[in-house]
């Protein structure tokens, strides 16, 4: 139970990762980097799940399962996203997100 590292440390790490992800998502122009930022956000959430599960309800496993589920979803999402990015590249010959702005008024 008592592993020495307090819960707050995990939460601080997760927060930093989350906002790093948000920052990357909003500022990066490369679609691949944006995808990586999204993965970062998802992983920060995973950390939160695991930490809370471990510290608050050590006899239950819902948090674990949920983070496994998130990892699976993230994996498939990465596959789909990369497929989309490849198609965007074929069409526009760029993966700069600012140049991909056909869908507007």
């Amino acid at each position: 139970m008592n592993s020495g590292i307090p819960l707050q440390y995990f939460l601080i790490l997760a927060t930093i990762m989350f906002f790093a992800g948000i920052y990357g998502f909003l500022t990066r122009r490369n679609l691949i980097t944006i995808l990586m930022s999204v993965e970062l956000i998802l992983n920060s959430v995973n950390i939160n799940f695991l930490a809370f599960n471990r510290y608050l309800y050590p006899h239950k496993l819902e948090g674990m399962f949920f983070s496994i589920f998130v990892i699976a979803v993230a994996a498939s999402e990465a596959a789909v996203a990369i497929a989309i990015i490849i198609n965007i590249y074929r069409r526009f010959t760029t993966i700069n997100v600012e140049d991909v702005n056909e869908m507007k008024f």
Binding site: I22, F25, L26, E98, N101, M103, F105
Partner: protein, 639 residues
Amino acid sequence: MINFNYTIWILLIPFLMFIFLGLAGHKFFPKLSGVLGTTGLGIVTVLSYLTAYNYFFLSEKVDEAYQKITAFNMVWLQLTDKLHIDIGILLDPISVMMLVVISTVSFMVHIYSLGYMKGEKGFERFFSFLSLFSFSMLGLVLATNIFQMYIFWELVGVSSFLLIGFYYTKPSAVRASKKAFIVTRFADMGFLVGILILSFTTKTFDFIALTDPNGSAITQGAGIGFLGLSVMTWSMIFVYMGGVGKSAMFPFHIWLPDAMEGPTPVSALIHAATMVVAGVYLVARMFPIYAISAPAALEVVAWVGAFSSLFAAVIACTQTDIKRILAYSTMSQIGYMMLALGVSGYGGHEGLGYMASMFHLFTHAMFKALLFLGAGAIIHAVHSNYFTEMGGLRKYLPITHITFLIACLTIAGIPPLSGFFSKDEILAAAFHHNKILWAIEFLVAGLTAFYMFRLYFSIFWGKETHYHHTPHEAPATMTIPLIVLAVGSIFAGFIPFNELVTTDGKGFETELEMMVAVPSVLIGLIGIVVAWVMYKKETAIPDKLAATFKYSYKWAYNKFYMDEVYLFVTKKIIFRFISTPIAWFDRHIVDGTMNLIASITQVSSFRIRGFQSGQLQKYGFVFVTGTIFLALLLIYFWR
């Protein structure tokens, strides 16, 4: 029991013929369609005569009375368990009699039209409409319930509309057809209200249940009332309103003279012999209710009929368009029938007026169709509707002349022609009921003889008019119906209606009442003699008389300004004070609200469309900011 299943074909044949000619006639046999339609109607006529023979002579009578037979019935529209609308065929003395009338006249008119309409544009359309009309009229008289009757009632209205407006390139015909449709439709609204009140009180549509004098339906709605009249009386008055519209009684008569814009065979069939008597038929159909539980409504029927007949007869004396004269004469004769129903009682000899009305309906159909067809032959020969442009035609049109004379004598009530018998029964019935009504009808009898012979002498005698080309007798297809109908007009009076068509189905004895018969024949003769003096040779008497009674003549000549009254009421009052404000409200308030909503949406969307820039990261930024904002809000207000 005799099997009456074949009567369904009486309805089906004209209906199929209508669809067939309407869809295929134009393309495949424009010339042959007339013959096809006529053949179909011929079969219907044979079937109708067979039905009449079977019904009157072979079917079993119960207790000396003809029974009402439902030959066919099916549920057409099941709305709820109790409320359903049926379509069926009801045979009773009046419907069988009407079958004979309609099929005979319709068949004659079909044959006549083969000649009259030959080479006209839309020949096959004409015959398909005629078939539609025959179908709807037969359906009307054979209806088993009042709702079916209403459906077919509207169908005859629409076929009348189509046929009046047959020459749809002529503005006056279009106007007339619209007028006929709207006026009758307005009256039919009253009919519908009547049906609703009636069926609400009696819980049934079925004629047999409604008109059974010993049944429960007839006593319903007697007590509760409005303005001193019982519910049943009100419903019967409303139902009668429909009849007033269709039968061109005052004050809904204005459409009938204009309806003469249609082809003449149509006028003969629809606006003289069959459709316009639908109102009479309606009252006759509901007669037990009128007589037993709504006598006040029956009074209304009598007085409307009497007034209309006098009104129309006076107008007819001043007109010069021969078809219009005949139209007013029709209105006047239908007034007779209405009056006869109005003065009738229920059962046995009391029902003399009812019998007389049906009798007159029968004979009138014959001689009025004959008059119209004769007028058609004259118009065909002279190419004019005004008798002022005719004269001395007896030499050119011998067959038309003789048949027209027979019809005029018949309508004037000269024995032993059929009109004498039926009119005499009506006058006798009126005489025993109310002396004032009798006096009105007595006067009208004289006027009738006068205006008919005014017409006759002006057309066939009078001054010799110079014609552009010599008028010639119509072809055989047109003269044969004239001869057949003339024979019908002569001998129809000998049909023993008192044995066949009575209120309770039992026959009763009638005798010629000299008290009534002699004066009416005399006044008819006086009318003829007056017309003879005035119009046999060209004289100055008519103009002098017109000058003497200048104002009354002018009023009658302008049809008592009824059209103007209608125009005033509709244009000046209804349009100005009701329709215009409603139109304003619709245009500015209703449309305005909708336009406002639309323009607000348009303007605001134009303003905010810049948000949709296509820049993914902008969206993301807005999304994240919003989420954070919401999260802060939640935290702050959570507590």
